[in-house]
């Protein structure tokens, strides 16, 4: 039986531990028309980019593993729009294309990495799961589930150490939330009040295993309680709700209060990776999300209420499509890395 698309549960008024300071209840972000248009464009760019990536995979131009972000766009855009490129840092797992796009990284060099070309952001040597932009404070792109949580805690350590005012946004999924190093990281992060936002993208399935079958405490925002890390559950299909929560989380870390957990309730429309037949959930469930909870349709409807005409949205659609088509063409035409690149970048220095 299809489950109804899940929204963030209203939180009980009584705090779990009354003797601690907690963040305020986040308010849905009041975006101006231009801001919302911008969020819409970014989400649409991710959606169209990922669709194209799926298509290029089908054409044999992208190889190996390819994990698409379709359905989860509001999370990356809502959170990262609250961050400052150059001050804050972002780190994530292998489902990383959307997180990169939301940080304003050129779709051309991302797509060229997917096709394994020299112009790719990792010179074609990383691939879909391993992309980085130190310039943007985007630290990857990690293939081993959960690894980025400890690494992100380290980035937060650097922010505190250097006193640079930055916050690290460390993304991970409901699956990674069961790895032991997550809790080792939580403990240190709170012990030292490191400025880190742990963003748990709960898309309800760790590959083929549902949260119900893998998590003894399925409310991930509570997972920091025994470490005294507060958590907020957020509707991850609503970009303004996500942005509102991001504001609250940033205020918390910026005030030196240490780590905070955001659990973003979201959904991936596609399989875990390209070769996942997704037999573990019903078509109705997927359809329910697509029809009733889609973050992009949701934003479009809101924009229309603000007086944006359907034609304007169509024009944006066309504009985004052109960007993606150009990126795909660039990625197809770009040459492969020179053979000598095989041996470069193994070590920095010569010995």
């Amino acid at each position: 039986m299809a489950k109804t698309a899940r929204k963030a549960a209203p939180r009980s008024k009584a705090p779990a531990s009354p003797n601690r300071e907690r963040p305020k209840e986040p308010q849905r972000y009041k975006a101006s028309k231009d801001e919302l248009l911008d969020f819409y464009k970014q989400m649409l760019l991710i959606r169209r980019f990922e669709e194209r990536a799926g298509q290029l995979y089908g054409l044999g131009l992208i190889g190996g593993f390819c994990h698409l972000y379709i359905g989860q766009e509001a999370v990356a855009v809502g959170l990262q729009s609250a961050m400052k490129v150059g001050r804050d840092s972002v780190i994530t797992g292998y489902r990383d294309h959307g997180h990169m796009l939301a940080y304003g990284i050129d779709p051309k060099v991302i797509m060229a990495e997917l096709t394994g070309r020299e112009a790719g952001i990792s010179k074609g040597k990383g691939g879909s799961m391993h992309m980085f932009s130190v310039e943007h404070g985007f630290y990857g792109g990690h293939g081993i589930v959960g690894a980025q949580v400890a690494l992100g805690t380290g980035l937060a350590f650097k922010h505190q150490y250097a006193g640079d005012g930055g916050t690290c946004l460390a993304y991970f999924g409901d699956g990674a939330a069961n790895q032991g190093q997550v809790y080792e990281s939580f403990n240190m992060a709170k012990l030292w009040d490191l400025p880190v936002i742990y963003a748990i993208e709960n898309n309800r399935y760790a590959m083929g295993t549902s949260v119900e079958r893998s998590a003894s405490e399925p409310d991930f925002y509570k997972r920091g309680e025994s470490f005294r890390i507060p958590g907020i559950q957020v509707d991850g299909m609503d970009v303004l709700a996500v942005r509102g929560a991001a504001e609250e989380a940033m205020a918390w870390t910026q005030a030196g209060k240490g780590p905070i957990i955001l659990e973003l309730l979201t959904y991936r429309y596609r399989g875990h990776s390209m070769s996942d037949p997704a037999k573990y959930r019903t078509k109705e469930e997927v359809q329910d999300y697509r029809e009733h909870r889609d973050p992009i349709s949701h934003a479009a409807a809101e924009l229309e209420k603000l007086g944006v005409k359907e034609d304007d949205l169509k024009a944006i659609d066309k504009q985004i499509k052109d960007i993606v088509v150009e990126a795909a063409k660039f990625a197809e035409d770009a040459p492969e890395p020179a053979p000598a690149e095989l041996y470069t970048d193994v070590l920095v220095e010569s010995y």
Binding site: L59, G64, G116, S128, G208, G271, V346
Partner: protein, 468 residues
């Protein structure tokens, strides 16, 4: 003309598939994300989604068609504003002259012809298909042709029927039927008590499995890949390998850690590495890395029956390859015995796992040049069967080691040391090694090809040691 929809590649190694079912018919309007068809690959049934909006103008491949090659046109879609008839009329085979055709604004028409994903993995697998392999069994034993995947599954199922203490645990092993379908059907037969889905918790379930083995059970711990076992390596080495020794022989730890190891197809640096040399360095562990389906079955059964902790290294690229497997009860092979896969007299090629396919391919090429190579499959990496290597060396006086892995501190290094220490007087040439390049595995197709072992390099090395 409209947009051609082509048979998609739905997994890294898919070359063709069955168009199981069309979920749209001619004339239907679709939008991005609509499911157009169901396509069956060797592993699973996948849904094929529309990425553009338009009308299905013509279906070119009817449902139920087998063996549809990746990239073959399967339908034509009319773009927005184009009539379905006009789109269907311009079918791919009767393409009009560009000047005569209406201008197409859709960029899809500029796409290159779809092709199979480029990967060196395909060359490795092609070597397997070309190589001949016969299991060592008495004359007249009936053989069943099966994949390595099926052989491994059968080994587990047989041992689970035989011994109640045996159970399987790991990520996606039960309901999903295995991330690589190695545990397919086990949940149905043995139920959730003995086929246990775990959370993504490698360190946790490796430790739990090790503890269960200490307590007297016989766990088979599946790692989705050995790359993820890095999260758990402490329990494999510090908990499992040392228990028997530290307890003065009173506490056993009969656990099997198994899963795919080595390079796969274009999955990049963190998912492509051979841990054979890592585990083979550890006293207290048994390390097995089979090549053929028969060895996979016979050795996995032996591993499950062993009272010692076993690291059982499979290979994803070999899972779908077919071999003859003896159809007999109790097909259990000895641990620690290498196998002469191909007898020869001029040079010894020593390898294991998928490297054996490369060695066999090289041996075929060498035969054309009048060099008769003997190919040895080590099968077990610890304890290593030195004697089979040294006996062969005494006959051929030349050794080349072929290893799909890094060269430094490798199994190849170990074989070279053994040949030096114990076979020096038999050597007529230095022992050479053919391994992957000494770099993290790159993602780009051309670099991946350059990084992995090739039969031509083995041929070159064999000629060098035979001074030809």
């Amino acid at each position: 003309m409209g947009i051609e929809l082509r048979m998609p590649a739905l997994s890294p190694t898919m070359e063709e598939g069955t168009l199981a079912k069309w979920l749209v018919k001619e004339g239907d309007t679709v939008v991005s994300g609509d499911i157009l068809a169901e396509i069956e690959t060797d592993k699973a049934t996948m849904e094929f989604e529309a990425v553009d909006e338009g009308t299905i103008a013509k279906i070119l491949v009817p449902e139920g068609t087998d063996g549809v090659k990746v990239g073959a046109p399967i339908a034509i879609m009319a773009a927005e504003g184009e009539s379905a008839e006009a789109a269907a009329a311009g079918s791919p085979k009767v393409e009009a002259e560009p000047a005569a055709a209406p201008p197409i604004s859709r960029p899809e028409s500029e796409q290159p012809t779809p092709h199979l994903m480029e990967t060196a993995a395909r060359d490795l697998v092609a070597d397997v298909a070309k190589a001949h392999d016969a299991p060592e069994v008495p004359e007249g034993t009936p053989l069943t042709n099966m994949t390595v995947r099926e052989a491994l599954r059968d080994a587990m199922a047989e041992e689970m029927r035989r011994d109640e203490r045996v159970f399987v645990m790991g990520e996606e092993v039960a309901q999903y039927q295995g991330a690589y379908k190695v545990t397919q059907g086990l949940l149905d037969e043995f139920g959730p008590k003995r086929v246990v889905d775990t959370p993504i918790t490698e360190y946790g379930f490796a430790g739990l499995g090790t503890g269960a083995a200490m307590g007297g059970l016989k766990p088979i711990v599946e790692f989705m890949t050995f790359n993820f076992a890095m999260q758990a390596i402490d329990h494999i080495i510090n908990s499992a390998a040392k228990t028997n020794y530290m307890s003065g022989g009173q506490m056993r730890c009969p656990v099997v850690f198994r899963g795919p190891n080595g390079s796969a197809a274009r999955v990049g640096a963190q998912h492509s590495q051979n841990y054979g040399p890592w585990y083979a360095a550890v006293p207290g562990l048994v390390v097995i890395a089979p090549y053929s389906a028969a060895d996979a079955k016979g050795l996995l059964k032996a591993a499950i029956r062993s009272e010692d902790p076993v690291v059982f290294l499979e290979n994803e690229l070999l899972y779908g390859q077919h071999f003859d497997v003896p159809d007999m009860d109790n097909y259990v092979l000895p641990i620690g015995k290498a196998r002469i896969v191909r007898p020869g007299k001029d040079v010894t090629l020593v390898s294991y796992s998928i490297g054996v396919a490369v060695a066999l391919e090289a041996a075929d090429e060498l035969m054309h040049e009048g060099i008769n190579a003997e190919v040895i499959d080590l099968r077990t990496l610890r304890p290593l069967d030195k004697q089979t290597v040294l006996t062969s060396l005494a006959q051929t006086n030349r050794v080349v080691v072929v290893e799909e892995g890094w060269p430094t501190c490798s199994i190849a290094s170990e074989i070279m040391a053994i040949c030096m220490e114990e076979g020096f007087d038999d050597l007529d040439a230095p022992v050479l090694r053919v391994t992957n390049e000494d770099v993290p595995l790159p993602y780009a197709a051309n670099l991946e090809k350059l990084a992995l072992i090739k039969a031509s390099d083995v041929v070159k090395a064999a000629k060098a040691v035979t001074y030809r």
